[in-house]
Symmetry: C2
Subunit: 156 residues, 2 copies
């Protein structure tokens, strides 16, 4: 019954860099990722949510050691004064994977409920078919990982 | 050399539902996904970017036929007057997959450059290790899919 989730993992060595106020026009994302690629930084997660009032935000996660360089690369590539770069130098990434995320409506809700019950604030969410990744603090990632492994009977 | 990308696909039957102005506090995501799960709607993508001023936005993609129901479920579950639900009833999802996304800094930049060269606006982005999903209009998804398959020599 609980094979719906097969693994829960915590990655504690990432940083989040966010660019807000980007012009929501064709070519902006190409400029942002061109700058990061030219600098040789390997990004892990890329997140852009729907924009508003012609502006949008893009976040990336990178290895902690690349955070400052990514911030510099982006600041040098920003199109205009309306954009800003911010950095959370130390985040924890929780990744929950399993076929249940695809086929059971309640697995996602259970994941967020477990974190809420421990007063863990969800900073960012990113999914693919059978995986959901959630950014929290590194301490919360360890607590959340343990709690989620117990919820889905993965401990031991 | 171009085995870095193994597939490009377009899904034209999705809708995007976005909730903005959510309190960025523990428990909010659990309430949002609890409401969707109680309604029996299967979400495909979940995206939350970093919040600002104590508020955050969450987008989900659902089958087109579930768009109205998802909007109703979310409107009934919203915590306060500062939140709002919007819906894009017909989006196209482009998914590019391959090991190169993990190991080559320039594959992501190439993907966004190809779309920019065709004046395609990136509405939303979501990644996992070896996949990037990009929301555009359905017409742009068909054009983008063709162009990306050519760029990475996948055309049959
Ligand atoms: C914000 C950015 O993604 C923009 N919409 C683009 O297409 O490049
Ligand atoms: C916005 C929402 O994700 C909130 N931060 C939560 O933890 O539930």
């Amino acid at each position: 019954e609980d094979i719906v989730v097969s693994d829960v993992a915590a990655d504690l060595d990432q940083a989040r860099v966010t660019v807000t106020g980007l012009p929501d026009d064709p070519g902006t994302a190409a400029a942002v990722f061109g700058a990061i690629a030219d600098g040789g930084v390997l990004v892990d997660m890329i997140i852009q949510n729907a924009g508003a009032d012609g502006r949008a935000g893009i976040s990336v996660t990178v290895p902690e050691n690349d955070a400052d360089r990514t911030v510099q690369l982006l600041k040098a590539a920003l199109p205009d004064a309306g954009t800003a770069v911010s950095c959370e130098p130390n985040v924890g990434k929780l990744t929950v994977s399993g076929i249940g995320l695809r086929s059971h409506t309640d697995v996602g809700a259970r994941v967020f409920r477990i974190l809420a019950d421990r007063q863990i604030n969800v900073q960012l969410v990113n999914t693919s078919e059978i995986k959901v990744s959630i950014l929290v603090t590194p301490e919360e990632a360890e607590i959340g990982c343990q709690a989620l492994r117990e919820e889905f009977h993965l401990t031991g």
